[in-house]
Chain length 205, copies 2
């Protein structure tokens, strides 16, 4: 299986590569990319090897080819679609963050249990009742979900999404979800990150 870290880095290299292209560069050495991405150059070379790009000794990597390979590796033929559950502050922030920014990733539907939000549009994304999740998810061809509800409701919401056919979840609620095999989950616990930085700032010279 593909190592998690590799994907994270390749996502990073994508940005670095398109920044360099935007600056009019056509080629770059692994150590240049490494510097911009904040990793070691051996990491970069490993990563590029992993996705099957070849550089040339002493003249580096063709950035345009690199970009193509990274896209091909990271993204599907047709854009992946997310839905999001919970249109509180966090949900809206995520929507705002993504709105019209990512070609290959789309948030196609929002769900909330508050009836007042039904049919309202947030950052280009329509809000539906959570009761209609199954229908909307099927109709829109959505395969991925974002959970942005309070901790107590997260597990139940995950269950609803999975029953509706969702196979991958980004969970912003600060609880570890217990899900069956074959479901991909990424837990993003904002409070934990702040705690962690506080801890290391105190405890590291």
């Amino acid at each position: 299986m593909t190592p998690q870290k590799t994907i994270e880095r390749i996502s990073l290299y994508r940005r670095v590569v398109s920044d360099l292209l935007a600056k009019g560069k056509n080629r770059a050495y692994s150590h240049e990319i490494a510097k911009l991405a904040g990793v070691k150059s051996s990491q970069v070379r490993h990563g590029f090897m992993f996705i099957g790009t070849n550089g040339k000794a002493n003249s580096g990597y063709d950035l345009r080819e690199l970009q193509g390979r990274i896209e091909g590796f990271l993204t599907a033929d047709k854009p992946d679609s997310y839905c999001i559950v919970g249109i509180g502050n966090l949900g809206r922030a995520v929507l705002a963050f993504f709105h019209a920014r990512h070609k290959n990733l789309e948030i196609k539907a929002a769900f909330d249990k508050d009836p007042a939000l039904k049919n309202r549009v947030f950052h280009g994304c329509r809000c539906y009742s959570i009761d209609d999740a199954k229908e909307v998810i099927r109709k829109e061809g959505i395969s991925l979900g974002i959970i942005a509800v309070p901790a107590e409701q997260a597990q139940a919401v995950a269950q609803i999404l999975i029953e509706a056919g969702i196979r991958g979840i980004v969970n912003f609620a600060p609880v570890p979800l217990k899900l069956g095999q074959g479901i991909v989950v990424e837990n993003v616990d904002l409070a934990m990150y702040l705690e962690k930085v506080a801890f290391f700032t105190r405890n590291v010279s």
Copy 2:
């Protein structure tokens, strides 16, 4: 140095432990806690060993003692203070998320370059001009910062914070920051998480 992962887990155990206490339990086995935290029981025992808690063979861990140890380990004597730069959607979401929720962590000041936001209060947190950062940070005794500005501005903002005395940064902008030694940084790249889940959902059986 303390392993990063250990801190993440201990932060998780804290929640599990207080959930169990809330349910009226006084003791728990490592495997019970492991199940709730979604890890192996050997991980839990390692973690508890690490923070110096002792259980009793065959009767598990005293939850109240555990809670005390975890707090003592994770939190400082006086609450750590954060400031946040960028009061757009993301910044507001973070503020809303934290407002009045975390005893030992406080967001004491917000900064933005938009003069219209000056002196407005968001979720209990006053917004200042970024030009006053140095003064406010010193006066409020803030040692940590959250960056929630667009990618292009993140590096410059980080520099300002560090000059003002900040020693730890949680960076939500999708760029790796280049900072001097001794500064703690945690990069939280929301777009990357969504990409990662999309990738693994496609590529894992």
